[in-house]
Amino acid sequence: QGQGSGSASARPEPLEPSLLRFLVCPLSKRPLRYEEATNELINEELGIAYPIIDGIPNMIPEAARTTRKKPPAEGSKQP
């Protein structure tokens, strides 16, 4: 119920807290930070953010957005 595309929901559905124990970035397998403000899971190292929609984290790399304006500097360490 109430999953209409038009109306914005009052508050985005929160992420199941226990999931944070298991979730990592699918690309680098490194830990993520939950950003409550934007409701995203952030990989600081790679500068990407995975969205959480209706409480379901979208962990497909193609769905992630880059958090930086320019790509990370050359010589950034590879995991």
Binding site: F22, L23, A63, P72
Partner: protein, 310 residues
């Protein structure tokens, strides 16, 4: 496929750039040829087509399963969970678990095991005061699952949506979470889960070897891999009947019930293309699993493969 929205192309490129960023060796490129049912396609096309199949069937998925298998799929799934025999406190990762069938069964199972545990405990407490008995009921109520947890991971948004709605409708909430993810590239840390299941999903994975590698990675040492999938029937008479049923009846059911002949044609073809029991067993062993075994159900129409990470 020609009508791909332009933004998807951008995202695909970004996905490629992101992979290059972290030096991913996976190379999930468009690249090599593979099959979609009986057609030959690139890997990227196959992923796209399969995504569309499940996007299309999601709402009718359960109804179709019941019609095609005359409800027998429920028994197969029951058998899978009974074979798993999870004890309270088990952490399960159910991959390609979209509409939640395995997850719900898992929850029911550990709940009933827990109830029996509690009953046994109470029967031994003959000399408790009423106060103590009331207290024990309360504390155990909050742990009706005994810390068991299931994470349902699926690559398809529509399937997960259906699953989540079902869960709400049936009253499942505790110990259950949903993640949109790719079986070939799981967003989970190493050595985390007690059991990994994939029921009627591995057939739709494009790189089965990668999915098996990932399954191995995320399981704890001692963890169990369980795969329930359509397999090969060796009995020639049964095989003929099965073929007849598959190719003549199922796509028609698909058209009548789901208005989608093509998706069910794909289903039937994908079953024929999928490796038989021994070959899948070898692939599972290649991923590092030990004590790999399989159990045929209904003469091999379906098989449960099991392996352990040591």
């Amino acid at each position: 496929a020609a009508g791909l929205c332009p933004c998807r192309a951008v995202l695909a490129r970004r996905g490629g750039a992101l992979r290059a960023l972290c030096g991913s060796r996976r190379g999930l490129a468009a690249g090599p040829e593979t099959h979609f049912g009986f057609q030959t396609v690139t890997e990227a096309e196959r992923r796209e087509k399969i995504y569309q199949v499940f996007e299309s069937v999601a709402k009718k998925y359960d109804v179709m399963n019941d019609s095609m298998t005359l409800g027998i799929h429920r028994v197969w799934k029951d058998i899978l969970v009974h074979k798993m025999n999870p004890s309270p406190g088990t952490l399960l990762l159910d991959v390609a678990g979209g509409t939640g069938d395995i997850a719900f069964r898992f929850i029911n199972y550990v709940r009933s095991v827990r109830e029996r545990q509690l009953q046994r405990k109470l029967r031994h407490h003959q000399n408790l005061s009423w106060q103590e008995i009331a207290e024990s009921y309360q504390e155990d109520k909050s742990k009706s699952l005994g810390d068991s947890q299931v994470v349902v991971c699926d690559i398809n948004k529509e399937m997960l949506k259906v699953g989540k709605q079902k869960a709400q409708h049936l009253g499942y909430s505790e110990g259950l979470s949903w993640v949109l993810g790719n079986a070939e590239e799981l967003p989970f840390d190493d050595d985390k889960f007690d059991v990994y299941t994939i029921a009627f999903g591995i057939r739709n994975v494009t790189r089965i070897d990668l999915a098996l590698d990932e399954a191995y990675r995320v399981l704890k040492p001692g963890g169990r891999f369980l795969c329930l999938e359509f397999s090969h029937v060796s009995n020639p008479l049964l095989s003929r009947l099965y073929d007849l049923y598959s190719f003549q009846v199922i796509p028609v059911l698909g058209e009548v019930i789901a208005g989608d002949w093509k998706s069910y044609q794909y289903l039937v073809e994908s079953i024929r293309r999928f490796p038989p029991q021994e070959e899948l067993k070898a692939m599972i062993e290649d991923a590092g699993f030990f004590k790999v075994d399989y159990q045929n159900l209904n003469s091999g129409i379906v098989a449960i493969h099991s392996g352990f990470k040591l």
